[in-house]
């Protein structure tokens, strides 16, 4: 007897801000079934909420779940812990045949910014995909929106997030944020050189995530084509992050093209100011859903 499955069982590693926000998105997914939430503190808010949703939990890290992977049929795991522990988590999960979507800035696997390069990853059987950073998810589509029109010799992004939305993992990984984002500005965004800056702002009430993209084009910018490309890219991102919007710009100043963005979250875990959580978890969910649909299609054929 074959049990026909219509959702791919997944595990969430990390029960902090990002992991918990992601859980709510997966619970709504038509193709993903969050089965496990893995943490390190039994009393963490994320684990408490996961249990309330009927998920299986462990506070013993990835090791606490490994022996259940086969019986629960886990095929995809999301790691929302910290860049410092990701490589080890990934190694163990991959050894158990699980595809890993990495939401830390560890950059073990290739970068994935859905509207720019998700298609390139389909069918490649990569074991680990890296979702860059929240700032990267918000800004790199726009660097690409400019670079697909004409060469960009330098791309720079500034991500400003509310202090309350930055958990301990994010704070310990500040360097990894800037380095990983810079690397993806060039390799995915298409700029020759890249720089990333992150600012935490403690204002009350908390400010909504905002991002600035500065591109220096090699030749005089084609204003009309760039403006149209930016508009089109905004619509692409809005398909999975409804609160994403170009607030001002593109502003042109010589060869500088500046785009000012705002990301309003869906308020799944933290309130809507935490667009940084939303864009990261929405991108990861969107990516995993594409793979899940493939897996399900494969299942049906078999």
């Amino acid at each position: 007897m074959t049990k026909r499955i219509n959702k791919i069982p997944c595990a969430l590693i990390g029960s902090g801000n990002i992991g918990t926000d992601l859980m709510y998105k997966l619970l709504r997914s038509p193709s993903l079934d969050p089965v496990w939430m893995v943490g390190i503190d039994p009393d963490s808010d994320g684990l408490v909420r996961a249990r309330e949703q009927g998920m299986k939990t462990t506070h013993e890290g990835v090791d606490g779940m490994l022996e259940h992977i086969a019986e629960d049929g886990i095929l995809i795991a999301f790691d929302a812990t910290s860049a410092y522990v990701h490589a080890e988590n990934s190694r163990k999960l991959v050894a158990h045949g699980v595809k890993v979507i990495d939401l830390t800035p560890a950059a073990v696997g290739p970068f994935c910014i859905p509207p720019v390069n998700l298609e390139e990853h389909i069918g490649k059987q990569e074991e680990n995909l890296n979702m860059v950073t929240c700032g990267g998810q918000a800004t790199i589509p726009m660097v690409n929106a400019v670079s697909r029109v004409q060469p960009v010799e330098y791309g720079e992004i500034v991500a400003t997030i509310a202090s309350k939305s930055a958990g301990p993992g994010t704070r310990k990984n500040i360097d990894e944020f800037t380095q990983t984002t810079s690397a993806a500005i060039t390799s995915v965004g298409g700029a020759d050189r890249g720089k990333a800056i992150i600012i935490l702002n403690p204002a009350e009430p908390p400010l909504m995530m905002r991002d600035t993209v500065h591109c220096i084009t090699t030749f005089e910018p084609d204003r009309e084509a760039i403006t149209a490309s930016v508009k089109a890219m905004e619509a692409e991102v809005q398909k999975y992050v409804p609160g994403y919007r170009v607030k001002e710009g593109p502003v042109f100043d010589g060869n500088r093209v500046s785009i000012y963005l705002q990301v309003q979250g869906r308020g799944d875990y933290l309130p809507d100011y935490a667009g940084n959580l939303d864009i990261m978890t929405a991108a990861a969910t969107h990516t995993a859903e594409v793979f899940a649909e493939q897996m399900l299609a494969g299942e049906a054929v078999a």
Binding site: Y154, E156, V158, T160, S163, P168, R171, K172, I174, D175, F177, T178, Q179, K195, I197, I198, I199, L200, N201, P202, A203, E204, L207, R210, T212, H214, I216, K247, E248, G249, V251, D253, R256, S258, Y260
Partner: protein, 345 residues
């Protein structure tokens, strides 16, 4: 407690905070002539970095004429007595930059965060302290948090390994009573071997008064710049502060005549326009806005035709913090749109 006979360490900011005054365009010759003059005058510690620290060269903050590495490599070998420090803001600079600075002979690293976000500095402070550097935790915009918060954040930086803790009045907003309260609390709560420092901006003309209040309250490292260099209306005017310290019997080891000459004959000619407490600088101090925003706001005024003072007030109202230079054009465009909408109705 009498402050006569007290010894303090003067830390010159002209070649780092002063970078903001010249949009980060010091030539290597400027660096050499001013740093050697300061060294000769007996200034024991001189900061040399892009105005926004290591890695600060960018569209957002302005590209430096040279890299911080080039400036440091030029200045360090020329110092007879002075030690060189570098600034690093986590989120802008990285541990990699810090290691570069140390490898070329930087003695002191100052890791700066907004006054409520000290925990983003853990990687950098830990690394600097482990490498045996003089490691300073630098709490910016300290007027935005109460004394207990400043203390708690300073404790975090201390726990990572900082041997000196700074309260920084980045907006030039504080009055002497606030400086006294906050510095006294830090001095009382940390062991004697942990140094306490104070960094002022002169936007309300309180640089000297606030620095004195800090010394009276127990601070022993005081920042300043010559000839009005520094973001906004400059830092504590160093030649003036040295004169006051000399009169009061506070020992700085800095020669008054020589620092006056360095200010007048060497630093002043490097400035485009002499510093004064302009309407915009005064606004920074009065509204509590990050001093480095000044030149950026003036640039936006020029491009978009909206008064820089109004932009600065709005940035203050929104609780912007150090590093958010990208908000300036964004906010200006938003204000212009709001004005147009009002005009249309």
């Amino acid at each position: 407690m009498s402050i006569q006979g007290r010894k303090i360490t003067i830390h010159d900011m002209s070649l780092r905070d002063g970078m903001h005054s010249v949009a980060h365009q010091f030539s290597l010759d400027d660096m050499v002539s001013l740093s050697t003059a300061l060294d000769r005058a007996g200034v024991p510690l001189i900061e040399v970095t892009h105005g926004d620290g290591l890695g600060g060269s960018s569209v957002n903050y302005g590209f430096g004429l040279h890299s911080s590495e080039e400036y440091l490599k030029t200045v360090i070998p020329l110092m007879k007595n002075a030690k060189i420090s570098a600034l690093l803001l986590p989120g802008i600079g990285t541990v990699e930059d810090l290691k570069m600075a140390r490898d070329i002979g930087v003695n002191t690293i100052r890791v700066a965060t907004h006054c409520t976000e000290a925990d983003v500095a853990e990687q950098h402070i830990t690394c600097a302290a482990k490498m045996g550097m003089d490691t300073v935790g630098f709490l910016m915009m300290s007027h935005m948090a109460d004394p207990e918060t400043i203390l708690e954040q300073a404790r975090l930086m201390h726990s990572y390994g900082a041997n000196c803790l700074y309260m920084t009045d980045s907006a030039g907003y504080m009055l002497p009573a606030e400086v006294s309260t906050k510095i006294s609390l830090l001095r009382d709560e940390f062991p004697e071997e942990i140094e306490i420092g104070f960094h002022a901006h002169h936007n309300l003309a309180m640089g000297v008064a606030n620095s004195l209040a800090a010394v009276e309250a127990g601070a022993n490292r005081i920042d300043g710049s010559v000839a009005g260099f520094g973001a906004g209306a400059g830092n504590t005017p160093l030649e003036v502060f040295i004169a006051v310290c000399t009169r009061m019997g506070i020992k700085t080891g800095v020669d008054l005549d020589m620092i006056m000459d360095a200010a007048e004959d060497i630093a002043l000619p490097m400035m485009g326009e002499p510093t004064r407490i302009s309407r915009d600088a005064l606004t920074l101090g009065y509204a509590g806005v990050y001093s480095s925003f000044l030149l950026h706001a003036k640039r936006v005024e020029k491009k978009h035709g909206i008064k820089s003072k109004d932009i600065l007030v709005e940035l203050g109202r929104r609780g912007t913090v150090g590093g958010q230079e990208d908000m300036i054009e964004d906010v200006a465009l938003e204000m212009i749109r709001a004005q147009q909408n009002t005009g249309a109705t």
